[in-house]
Structure formats: structure tokens, C-alpha cells
């Protein structure tokens, strides 16, 4: 019989500890090959804000993933070097340490695999890895480990919802409590947005988007995955419009209307997406509840 540590050992080296905000699991998966250390996290943070990582020295990770905006921006799709437009909405990168796959279509299996891609993407930072290493003086592997480590420390929690879960009945308004009931009940949002991070980390076609994109299909080539995108966490979502993988919905209210109508028709529409028959009052309550997921965003160690 063989044993293998699939979910690899992770402990923080030495006395370095990461403060996990209320509402999130104490267990934050970290690969055994890249243990979290203060040194790496600090280097990663410097690199994250370093514009030398882009061809024209104008764009850093933080240009698109702005800490003031829960590590996203306010455009429908990302804007990279020379004002080039990307293809997709910039995701909030909070609590991604708990993620199972990365990008809207899940094409990266780990943060380590993910973080080097924006540097090389011609529409984002447009450098070769060798250029990135020589400009910053940090070897590629270290760059990769440091950026991934820093991203792991970007966490959002301690929201009114978290305080409510811990037993503070007054942390949510009456309207938000109704919204929470709808979120779990009539509106069925928890079939996909569940757990501390409000995501099942799976892929679904909600019909969202201007054009029916490939989505997960690009990674799996399974026709059932056409138009399916990864369920995003809803933490900090209410304060960071626009929405969906192509930023095609402008407000939380539009998102709720979208779900209320049963998404948009598509051959591979997820069976959980159906007309909801929400009243105006119920829609308001749902939107109010989503506001309660704005908490405190913290990063670094």
C-alpha cells in the first residue's frame, strides 16, 4: 500500500504566523514545496507592486488588483501595458489560498502555476520570465514562490455576516437576515455560493456574458463545460462592480435580476439556474445581504 500527502504539509516556518480573520478556516492549504515564510511574503508584496514587471514599466499586479478595491479594479475587463484590453474581468483575489483552481476557467492548478502567467501575457505585463528575473534581480523560481505566498495572505473576513454567524444577532439588519434566508432558501444561491468563502470552487454555466464564451470548455474540451465559469467568492463583491467574467452586469441589482429571470438560455445552462419569482422586497433584501459580506481585507504577515 502506498501513501501520498496529496494535501501537502503546510506549516508556517518558525514563529511566522498568519492571522486568519473571523469566519475563515484556520486551515489554509499551503503546498509542501512552498511553505509560507515572512521573508517570501514580504518579497512577494514588493513584487506585487513593482511596475518593472511590465514591458513599459507602467503596470504592476496592483494596477489591476488594487488593494483599495479588494484587489480588483472597476473596469469590465483588465487593462494592461500600453492600454491593451484583456479578455476578462479582473477577479478579486481575496481568499484565493482556499481555492482549488485558478482563473475564471480554472486552467491553473495552483497559485504557483498562476502567478507567472500575467507577467508573460502580452495583454497584461508582456515580459519573458528571463526579463522579469533580470529586471528585479529575483530568480524566476523565487519570484514565483514569493508572489504565490503573498497572494495566499490576502484574506477577507470579519464581516457583519461573520459576526452574525458567531452569534451576534444584531450584526445583520432585519432586511439582511431576510436576504440570508432567501440566499439559502427560495433563491437557492447556496447551491453554488456556499461555505466560508461562498464558492463551491466548481464550474457552472449561468448564461452570463455578452457572448457565449468557451469558459471551462477551453480547459477540459468537454462540451458540457461550454460557457461554464468558476463560481467566484462573493466576499467584497457588493462594493466591487462590475460583475461576471466579462464585467457585463453593472450592479448587484442587475445580477439579482439576472438570476431572477433564470439566467440566460444556453444549451449547457446549469440546472440550478431557474426563474426565482422574487418580489421587489425580496430582491432588495438579497442585495442588502450581499453588502454584509464586505468585511476587512488584510494582506501580508
Amino acid at each position: 500500500m502506498t501513501f501520498w500527502p496529496l494535501l501537502a504539509a503546510a506549516a508556517l516556518a518558525g514563529a511566522d504566523t498568519l492571522t486568519i480573520p473571523a469566519g475563515l478556516d484556520a486551515y489554509l492549504p499551503v503546498p509542501g514545496s512552498n511553505p509560507l515564510t515572512r521573508e517570501k511574503v514580504e518579497l512577494g508584496k514588493r513584487l506585487f507592486f513593482d511596475t518593472r514587471l511590465s514591458r513599459d514599466n507602467t503596470v504592476s499586479c496592483a494596477t489591476c488588483h488594487d488593494p483599495q478595491k479588494a484587489f480588483t479594479d472597476d473596469r469590465p475587463v483588465g487593462a494592461g501595458v500600453g492600454g491593451r484590453s484583456g479578455d476578462r474581468r479582473v477577479p478579486r483575489i481575496v481568499n484565493r489560498g482556499y481555492g482549488k483552481s485558478f482563473f475564471w476557467d480554472g486552467r491553473a492548478a495552483s497559485l504557483e502555476e498562476q502567478v507567472l502567467q500575467p507577467i508573460q501575457n502580452p495583454k497584461e505585463m508582456d515580459l519573458t520570465l528571463a526579463e522579469a528575473a533580470s529586471r528585479t534581480g529575483v530568480p524566476v523560481e523565487k519570484l514565483q514562490q514569493a508572489l504565490a505566498s503573498y497572494v495566499r495572505t490576502i484574506l477577507s473576513g470579519d464581516s457583519p455576516y461573520d459576526r452574525y454567524l458567531q452569534g451576534d444577532r444584531d450584526a445583520l439588519t432585519a432586511g439582511q437576515r431576510l436576504g440570508l434566508r432567501l440566499f439559502r432558501g427560495k433563491a437557492g444561491c447556496t447551491s453554488c455560493h456556499l461555505g466560508p468563502n461562498f464558492t463551491d470552487e466548481r464550474f457552472h454555466n449561468t448564461g452570463a456574458g455578452r457572448a457565449a464564451g468557451d469558459g471551462r470548455y477551453a480547459a477540459t474540451k468537454d462540451p458540457r463545460d461550454r460557457g461554464a465559469f468558476k463560481t467566484p467568492s462573493l466576499r467584497e463583491a457588493a462594493r466591487t462592480p462590475p460583475y461576471m467574467h466579462d464585467g457585463s452586469l453593472q450592479t448587484i441589482e442587475e445580477v439579482i435580476d439576472f438570476y431572477d429571470k433564470g439566467g440566460k438560455p444556453s444549451p449547457s445552462l446549469d440546472p440550478e439556474i431557474r426563474e426565482l419569482h422574487l418580489t421587489a422586497e425580496e430582491k432588495t433584501a438579497l442585495a442588502a445581504f450581499l453588502q454584509a459580506l464586505n468585511g476587512k481585507v488584510r494582506d501580508g504577515m
Binding site: M1, F3, P5, A26, Y27, L165, R184, P196
Partner: protein, 556 residues
């Protein structure tokens, strides 16, 4: 007397050398209809915590004398009850789940002599909790929290009270058991082996949340881990039967291969391991099956109507044309909790049986539509939402009719309107709703406390529903006042030629004119689930004896 001695005597009689002693035989610790399996032994091996089946109280059994003692108190007529429990390492306190008067579970603790009762944690948001083990320093209780969005959480609840520290959240799955290492550094739990796997395996999570690893990789179902010394003892079905295995763990790493401890323990539920190394476990045995008999001679002419898997069948439903019976049949090696069940369709005009495996996590019962083209299933789906589902009797395809995270895994009771257009159900046992099968619009027919037991008259004019445990409400389908027929202790209702009620094992005929109900001479071992044939004379029912016992076996 301990049967270890008997084994020694046996060894001596056969001239075995000490090294070749046969493994000690398991010994029966407790049997009888009052056995419940929700607690565990104290480390000193002197006591066993359990739920007193008659009263719902937490109780403690003195294993030497066999005497039981109730530890909890509640007001008369209260619907509160105790559930899972775990005794502290010093064998002085019991942590237990308590279903409170508001309808969810508290984490409570009480001394073994019944003194110092305290509520440690009470939060509607953790609607169900399971204390599994105490940390070795007795400061925290390793507890499972079940949240309303159908995730479970592994948490450490402070024994002095206060919010638990959540270590790990799991979507749509809950560990069947978890335990903590004697040095307090590691937690072992069972959960699914992968995203799409139905098999469980063991995971080792460090108690500070810093790391986690999968312990077993070989195919098979591994569950119910318990810790003793440096070893994790668990149940596994690699060999085809449920066996006890052990795996040595050192510094958070497995050492060597798992060792088979005992073969074929049956449907076991490990309860705990004492300091002396005795594994206590529950065992479910007995056989329950589906029988056809006649109302005129229900005891005399019963014959088993199932063709396969004897002893694992229940909850029959007769089709309206009288030609088929649908029933549930237990499958797989899952021992406790939500068992996997298949729907079996038994044609009565041939020796034919067909099995349906709908994509539902739990099936509680099924009912044929009047036209025979659909089965209405009570149960829950793979995301833990309870409700009512339509199952296609040809393809097993499932369509949710009512499904919500807040419902129990048993789902809602349901009955068809006589024209098959609507499904009636007591929503959370408080509101009798009627739902259009196509389209989904709903109307409320009746409100009342504890609506349980539901049947529609074949002519479609009446709906009968058990109300408050004391009466049956007869509701005219066409609107009008409900009439209450007094009937105590109702557990089920069915409507064929007559309205028939179950009260525990008993079967009663309920006259509609208010005359006294008439008890039938049914089989004394009848279990829940019966259905009436349209011929007005035949009845199909569940009967048998399911029993629970507590056993112990020395592991050393």
C-alpha cells in the same frame, strides 16, 4: 466476566502457545430494545454514555452493574432530547448535543453524577452539532458543526464555553467520526476520497490548522477513525466485508502499512477506545423485509414479496393498478447515518424486479403517481437539500419538486392528489401545501402543529393528515372546514378502501364517521412503511427486527 479469560482457557485446552493465542473474542456489553448508539465509553472503561430511548434524556450506564442513570432534566411535555455525546478524558464530564426548545442543537456539558449542567454553545447557525472527543487537556471539545448552507465544520469548542474555533469546512459532506491524538496535535477524520468519489478515506489535520494530509490512498471505503496510543483504528471494506484496521502514526506521518485487526465485524459503529485498549462498538443486526398479506388475516398469510437482498428491504408502495410494488432496498457498505438505498420495482404479474439508482443522497420513501408514470420520492439530493423529488420509473432521472437546504435529509412527506396533477406535503410539519407538479404554483390547505402522516382518499375528496400527535385532520379537498378525528400516537396514514393508520407496530382502521378506530391483528414486528392494494383486501408492509447492540473487543 471478560471473555478474554474464555479465550485463554480455550487456548490452554488446545495447547496453543501464548504467541499463537487467537485474538480475543468480542464480548457483548449491552443488548435489548433500549440500546442506543449515540454515546461512547469513558476512558476508564467504567461507563458508557447513551440516550435513554424512552425519554430522550442523556444517560450513563455503569458497565459493571448494568445500571443506567439519567443525567439531564427538562420540563414535562418538552420535546427536547439529547443526541451525540463524548466523555472527558478524566471520565468526569460528558459533552453532549441537546435538541433545545427552539428546535436546534446546543453543545452542553454535565458531570457524570448529573451535577454542573452547562450550555457551552448555542447558535442557531450551527443547527446540528456532534461532539466527538475531548482534547487530552480537557480544555476543548472536538465538535462537528453542521451549517445551514450544508457544509460541515471541524471545530474546537472551548470547554469553558464560547464560540468554537473552526479548523476546516467541508462542502456537502460530514465526517462520520473524528478523534484527536493523545498528544493533542492531530485530528483524524473521514471524508470523501475525491471530488466525485462516494468512498471515504481518512485525513489527518493538525490541531492548529497548519496542515492536512490524506492518510490512505488504496481504493476502498475507510471510515470511523478512532485514536488509541500511536494508532488510528478504523473500519474499512477493502476485503469486501467491514473489517477493523489500524495504522500507526508518528509525528503526523503514517508508519508502515495498515494492519488488519479483525475481519468482518458486520454493520459496526465504533464508539470509543478505553485506556486499557478495548474498542467499544455498536452493531446493528436483524432483518427487515417487505411482505404482502391480507387485511383479514394479516398474521397468517404473509409472504415476502422481494426477490433479492433479503433483510434489507422496506417502505413499499403499491401502484394504483395493483400490478407493481415499489420499495426501498439498502445497498453498499455504509453502516450508519444516511445509507444508500435503491428503489426496486417489483412487477407482480411476472417474477421480475428492476432496480433504480436515482441521483439522490438519501431516499426516505417513494409513492407512485396515480398514472404510474412517476415516483414521488421523499429524501435529499447530493447537496444535502431535503425535499420531494420526482423519479422517472424507467430512467431513474430525478426532477426536484421542492428542495431546500433547511429541510431535514429525510425530506418532506408527500402524497399525490387523485388526478396526479398536484403533490401535497406538510411543509416543515406546519403547513399542508398543495403544489402543481407542472409549473410549481402552491396553495396552503391547512395549518397546524406537527403535521405528520398524510394520505389522500382515492376519490380525491378528502385529505387526511395527522395533527399534533393527537388527532387526524380530515380536510375536504374542495374547501370547507376540517374535521378532527381523535387518534393518539399516529405514525403513518394510508388510504385504500378505508383510511388506515399506523401507531408504532400497530395498524388501525379509522372510520370516517367518528366511530371508534378498530385495531387490526397485524404482525407485532411491523416497521414503518405500508401500502394498500386497490383490491381493498391486500396490504404490503414492512416487518422484521432491527436491533442494536454494544460490543467490546480488546485490541492489544
Amino acid at each position: 466476566m471478560r471473555s478474554g479469560n474464555a479465550a485463554l482457557a480455550l487456548a490452554a485446552a488446545f495447547g496453543w502457545a501464548a504467541a499463537e493465542l487467537p485474538p480475543p473474542a468480542p464480548r457483548l456489553v449491552w443488548s435489548g430494545p433500549e440500546v442506543t448508539l449515540l454515546g461512547g465509553p469513558s476512558r476508564d472503561g467504567r461507563h458508557l454514555s447513551y440516550v435513554d430511548a424512552a425519554t430522550g434524556h442523556l444517560a450513563i450506564r455503569d458497565l459493571a452493574s448494568g445500571r443506567g442513570r439519567i443525567l439531564t432534566q427538562k420540563p414535562a411535555g418538552s420535546r427536547e432530547f439529547a443526541y451525540f455525546s463524548a466523555i472527558s478524558p478524566d471520565s468526569r464530564r460528558v459533552a453532549y448535543a441537546w435538541f433545545n426548545e427552539e428546535g436546534y442543537y446546543d453543545l452542553r456539558v454535565v458531570d457524570l453524577d448529573g451535577s454542573n449542567p452547562r450550555t457551552l454553545y448555542r447558535n442557531e447557525e450551527a443547527g446540528f452539532i456532534q461532539p466527538c472527543a475531548w482534547t487530552p487537556d480537557s480544555r476543548s471539545i472536538l465538535t462537528l458543526l453542521f451549517r445551514a448552507d450544508n457544509i460541515s465544520q471541524i471545530a474546537l469548542a472551548p470547554a469553558e464555553g464560547g464560540p468554537p474555533k473552526v479548523l476546516r469546512s467541508l462542502n456537502w459532506v460530514y465526517p462520520k467520526r473524528m478523534d484527536i491524538s493523545p498528544d493533542g496535535r492531530y485530528i483524524v477524520y473521514d471524508s470523501f476520497a475525491g471530488e466525485s468519489s462516494g468512498d471515504r478515506t481518512l485525513y489527518l489535520l493538525s490541531a492548529d490548522g497548519a496542515s492536512e494530509k490524506k492518510l490512505l490512498g488504496a481504493p476502498g471505503n475507510y471510515l470511523f477513525p478512532l485514536w488509541t496510543g500511536k494508532r488510528v483504528v478504523y473500519a474499512g471494506d477493502r476485503s469486501g466485508t467491514m473489517d477493523a484496521w489500524e495504522l500507526e502514526i508518528e509525528n503526523g506521518e503514517p508508519r508502515g502499512a495498515p494492519k488488519l485487526l479483525r475481519r468482518d465485524l458486520g454493520r459496526i459503529l465504533p464508539l470509543g477506545i478505553t485506556a486499557a485498549g478495548d474498542l467499544y462498538y455498536g452493531l446493528r443486526s436483524g432483518s427487515v423485509d417487505v411482505f404482502v398479506t391480507t387485511l383479514s388475516d394479516p398474521k397468517g398469510d404473509a409472504r415476502r414479496v422481494t426477490l433479492r437482498f433479503p433483510g434489507r428491504n422496506s417502505m413499499p408502495d403499491w401502484s394504483r393498478d395493483g400490478k407493481a410494488i415499489a420499495y426501498l432496498s439498502r445497498r453498499g457498505s455504509e453502516n450508519f447515518g444516511q445509507e444508500s438505498r435503491a428503489i426496486v420495482i417489483r412487477r407482480l404479474d411476472s417474477e421480475e424486479e428492476r432496480e433504480l439508482l436515482p441521483k439522490l443522497a438519501h431516499l426516505e420513501r417513494v409513492r407512485w403517481s396515480p398514472g404510474g408514470d412517476a415516483l414521488l420520492a421523499s429524501g435529499s439530493d447530493n447537496k444535502g437539500r431535503g425535499g420531494l423529488y420526482l423519479v422517472n420509473p424507467e430512467t431513474a432521472a430525478v426532477r426536484p419538486l421542492v428542495s431546500e437546504a433547511a429541510a431535514s435529509f429525510r425530506g418532506f412527506e408527500g402524497a399525490w392528489s387523485s388526478d396526479g396533477q398536484r403533490v401535497l406535503y406538510p411543509y416543515h410539519e406546519q403547513e399542508l401545501r398543495s403544489r402543481l407538479v407542472s409549473g410549481g404554483s402552491e396553495a396552503t390547505l391547512y395549518r397546524g402543529p406537527r403535521l405528520h402522516g398524510l394520505a389522500v382518499s382515492p376519490d380525491g375528496r378528502w385529505v387526511a393528515v395527522g395533527a399534533g400527535g393527537k388527532s387526524i385532520a380530515l380536510i375536504p379537498a374542495a374547501a370547507g372546514e376540517a374535521r378532527l378525528l381523535p387518534f393518539d400516537g399516529l405514525t403513518e396514514l394510508e388510504w385504500g378502501r378505508d383510511l388506515m393508520a399506523g401507531r408504532g407496530a400497530e395498524l388501525w382502521r379509522i372510520p370516517l364517521d367518528g366511530a371508534a378506530p378498530l385495531k387490526l391483528a397485524g404482525p407485532g414486528n411491523r416497521q414503518a412503511g405500508f401500502s394498500l392494494c386497490p383490491d381493498g383486501e391486500s396490504i404490503v408492509l414492512t416487518a422484521g427486527n432491527a436491533k442494536s447492540e454494544v460490543w467490546a473487543v480488546a485490541l492489544k
